[in-house]
């Protein structure tokens, strides 16, 4: 489990919204990308980080890493699957 660097194609910040908009905002950002591109999703600790990664997985995308920003937020690195 060595640290892996990812080439980020786009970023989305969902720390300014609450459930269910958190997931919706991430989903919309993913829709903008092409298959194989990588999105960084910044989210709050607590409910968003408990649930958003699973919802993105259930949409069929590939989760690569969850990074703890040590400031009460996390960044989820997601590879888009599908067009």
């Amino acid at each position: 489990m060595a640290e892996i660097e990812f080439e980020i194609d786009d970023n989305v910040d969902i720390t300014d919204v609450v459930c269910p908009t958190t997931f919706v905002k991430a989903k919309v950002a993913l829709e903008e990308l092409d298959d194989g591109q990588i999105l960084a999703v910044k989210m709050n600790d607590g409910e968003p980080v408990q649930n958003v990664p699973r919802s993105i997985k259930e949409e069929g995308h590939k989760i690569l890493k969850l990074i703890n920003n040590e400031d009460g937020t996390f960044t989820l690195i997601v590879k888009k699957v599908g067009d």
Binding site: M1, D45, V49, Q50, N51, P53, R54, K57, E58, K62, I63, L64, K65, L66, I67, N68, F74, L76
Partner: protein, 286 residues
């Protein structure tokens, strides 16, 4: 001839305030009805009732304002649509269930199949008092398992599979009980904190977990005049055959020990929970 109200009640015909009118309770399993059944229910409500139905608190449907003289005709009409009367009184009642793993992303077990199996095994079995089964698919507990005489909750027992883990860290955050920790690149599960919710497995991008889908069974729940939360004896039951044996044992214990009109919780209190625990453990270990 005077109407045999006990027989009518047993057959799902609930006496109304309005003389000679009955609210007919239907047999529904796990909260599911087909469109054919629904169409027939609508037709019967229109023709023999007053054009409305009532959704009961335990996932049944009642057709009110059925007249005493029409009962046989109503039963025959319903049978055409594959609909049967339900039951009331001192016996095994409607087996309720959430949608479970067949439909719901949160589901850990196939609640509907289990509801059908329990319904076939026990429905309308005569007992000293009512006996309710409820099945919920996961820890979200949409079906409120513990308010039933015997409640079943789906769960997932997990074991981390290192070979498939990409070390993303999602599982640690998905866990709501603090059971999953990542230390030096290894995922550690504190079994004393795990509630079998399965969120670590469901959130994992590579499903790097060996899983056993099983059951958490609670006994003695009540939510009427008295309120009591059913309690589990065994933390997690791994196979369905054992689950069925435990259900058999609970019903047998109730049939043998309960007084007429006494709910399971009060039988357990009076006879002694220890005696019941011994019986369940004997079946579980046997």
């Amino acid at each position: 001839m005077a109407a045999d109200y006990a027989a009518l009640k047993k057959g799902g015909f609930m006496r109304q305030k309005q003389k000679n009118n009955f609210s007919l309770r239907l047999r529904v399993v796990g909260g599911n009805l087909t469109s054919v059944q629904l169409a027939k229910i609508a037709e019967v409500a229109e023709k023999f009732g007053d054009g409305h139905v009532h959704m009961t608190s335990r996932q049944s449907v009642e057709i009110p304002f059925i007249k005493l003289d029409d009962i046989d005709e109503v039963k025959a009409a319903l049978a055409e649509g594959g609909v049967e009367p339900g039951v009331c009184g001192p016996r095994v009642r409607t087996v309720t269930a959430c949608q479970g793993a067949a439909i719901c992303p949160s589901g850990c077990i196939d609640t509907y199949s289990l509801a059908k199996e329990l319904d076939e095994r026990y429905f309308a079995r005569e007992l000293p008092h009512k006996f309710k089964f409820g099945i919920t698919g996961c820890q979200n507990n949409c079906l409120k398992a513990e308010e039933n005489d015997l409640g079943i909750k789906g769960g997932i027992k997990v074991k981390w599979r290192e070979s498939d883990c990409i070390g993303c860290g999602v599982c640690e955050k998905a866990c709501r009980t603090g059971a999953v920790k990542i230390e030096d690149g290894k995922v550690i599960v504190d079994e004393s904190k795990c509630n079998f919710c399965g969120r670590c497995f469901k959130a994992c991008p590579t499903e790097a977990w060996d899983t056993i889908h099983g059951y958490i069974v609670s006994f003695g729940g009540l939510f009427g005049n008295s309120i009591n939360k059913g309690e589990a004896i065994i933390p997690f039951i791994e196979d369905k055959e054992k689950l069925m044996k435990i259900c058999d044992a609970a019903i047998e214990f109730f049939a043998e020990n309960a007084k007429a009109g006494e709910r399971f919780k009060f039988t357990l209190d009076r006879v002694g929970k220890d005696k019941f625990v011994d019986k369940i453990m004997e079946v579980y270990n046997g």
